[in-house]
């Protein structure tokens, strides 16, 4: 009797989550650039993200001044001189989830996120590989990709060119709950 009740409950929950929006406000984002002179690493766990199951869409939004660096001065320069977070406070990605995902069936799915990234007032197309893990009580999404700051008109002066990597490796990890 108890088993029946719980399996019925489970089916109801899965059905309801499958037609749902998933949300997180503390997704993890790291970017890392390495040169022989210096490593740059910054982390934020204050990224908001929404995943719409029905439309197969996902959106991310992070406040740039929420990134923590290992060096306080680097953080100041990041905000003041590079991304200009006073003028352009957010980085936003909106995209489609390309690839089959069965949100009713727990498992790991390899997909591509295809959409537009808006950073530093510049919008660019971005296609990145991602992994979606469907669990009983939520969805997880992780992605690793490279991005080039200069694509977003983030100028890097000659004097520090050797210290800042051309490409930044970005890691995203988001654990969603039903909205």
């Amino acid at each position: 009797m108890k088993t029946y009740f719980f399996s019925a409950l489970l089916i109801v929950t899965v059905c309801s989550t499958s037609a749902q929006t998933f949300i997180t406000r503390n997704a993890y984002i790291k970017f890392f650039g390495s040169t022989p002179m210096e490593n740059i690493e910054a982390v934020s766990n204050q990224t908001s993200s929404v995943l719409d199951v029905a439309k197969g869409e996902v959106a991310f939004q992070v406040l740039l001044n929420s990134f923590t660096f290992e060096k306080a001065l680097m953080q100041e320069h990041f905000n003041e001189n590079y991304v200009e977070s006073e003028k352009y406070p957010k980085c936003i990605f909106r995209g489609k989830i390309v690839g089959a995902v069965d949100y009713a069936k727990p498992g790991t799915y390899k997909v591509t996120l295809s959409g537009k990234m808006n950073l530093h007032g510049v919008e660019k197309d971005l296609d990145v590989p991602a992994t979606i893990i469907v669990e009983k009580d939520g969805v997880k999404l992780s992605s690793e990709f490279k991005m080039v700051p200069e694509d977003y008109k983030i100028a890097i002066p000659g004097a520090v060119r050797d210290k800042i990597a051309k490409e930044m490796a970005v890691t995203v990890k988001a654990a969603y709950k039903p909205a």
Binding site: I23, R25, N81, P157, T171
Partner: protein
């Protein structure tokens, strides 16, 4: 039909879903603190409201060449009478900076404390200015040569400042600095041990990494020195400095012109005999370099 339309509109942007239920922690994060009101911890000689970040140590080297009107070429462009100060400071917290230095003028040691009291912010807390308290204790090791008996306390002088600063947008920042300097020893009875002054400082950014700076220290006119030639009390001049801030990665390079040769606060604030009009102009620079001693905590990567 209407409700359907409403739903469709709400779903237009996925991120709208975030606006529905902002959590308590998110509400607190709405305070937006102003950063980088000035590039360096000093404008030229005067303190800015900035301190190095938590866990960061700063090494600073200040250098003033001899005056341009003082046999400039004979003295190898003023290099022969250079005045220098070296200092180290450290910020154990976000709001406190402590340090010490040694300067060649009056062979003085100085210790200082800088405390951030208010931070300019917008959002849920609107604070129009930053306020920073700055105090120094200065000890000259110069030998007394007046043949008079002296107490050890005669070597001490103090300065206290309240730095009230505001960043007006991206490019322009300004500060007003009420100042009190106390000298344990003065030359004559006519002279006051306490000097009140009001400092003004500012900077204008030309590019992201280049700024023009300026500062002026207005003293009460009763601050005088005994002039041997005229046998009279003559007021000291007010220190006026203009400069350039050049920022390159881990350090700030400041170039400037000033009529003040002294580098510890009681010297440049209240003991500046030189005047711009007479050509008592000193070319100088400050170089600072920061070292991260304690790394800030960054969020842990999720284990999955």
């Amino acid at each position: 039909m209407l409700s359907l339309f409403g739903v469709a509109k709400a779903q237009d942007d996925l991120l709208d879903a975030l606006d529905t239920k902002p959590t308590e922690t998110e509400k607190k994060k709405e305070i937006k603190y102003t950063t980088a009101t000035f590039k360096g911890t000093r404008i030229v000689n005067m303190q800015s409201p900035e301190i190095p970040g938590k866990g960061v140590m700063q090494f600073m080297f200040m250098h003033r060449f001899g005056a341009v009107n003082d046999d400039f070429f004979y003295n190898f462009f003023g290099l022969d009478q250079a005045s220098v100060r070296i200092s180290l400071d450290y910020s154990p917290t976000d709001w406190l900076n402590v340090g010490f230095g040694r300067s060649s003028v009056t062979k003085a040691w100085d210790g200082f404390l800088k405390i951030k009291m208010l931070r300019q912010s917008t959002g849920d807390r609107n604070m129009p200015i930053s306020a920073v308290l700055y105090s120094t204790l200065n000890y000259t090791t110069l030998r007394f040569n007046d043949g008079l008996p002296h107490n050890e306390s005669d070597r001490l002088s103090y300065s206290h400042q309240l730095i009230l600063a505001r960043k007006f947008g991206d490019r322009f920042s300004a500060e007003i600095v009420p100042t009190l300097v106390h000298y344990n020893l003065v030359q004559t009875k006519a002279q006051s041990n306490d000097v009140l002054a009001l400092g003004f400082g500012g900077r204008i950014k030309i590019t992201q990494r280049l700024a023009i700076t300026g500062e002026y220290m207005l003293q009460m006119p009763n601050n005088t020195y005994f002039d041997e030639a005229t046998q009279a009390e003559v007021p000291f001049n007010n220190a006026l400095s203009i400069g350039f801030d050049i920022e390159t990665g881990g350090h700030v390079f400041q170039l400037h012109l000033t009529n003040s040769r002294g580098l510890i606060d009681p010297q440049w604030i209240g003991r500046t005999p030189g005047s711009w009009a007479n050509g008592d102009i000193y070319f100088g620079f400050n170089i600072s370099r920061v070292f991260t001693i304690v790394k800030p905590k960054t969020p842990e990567e999720p284990a999955w």
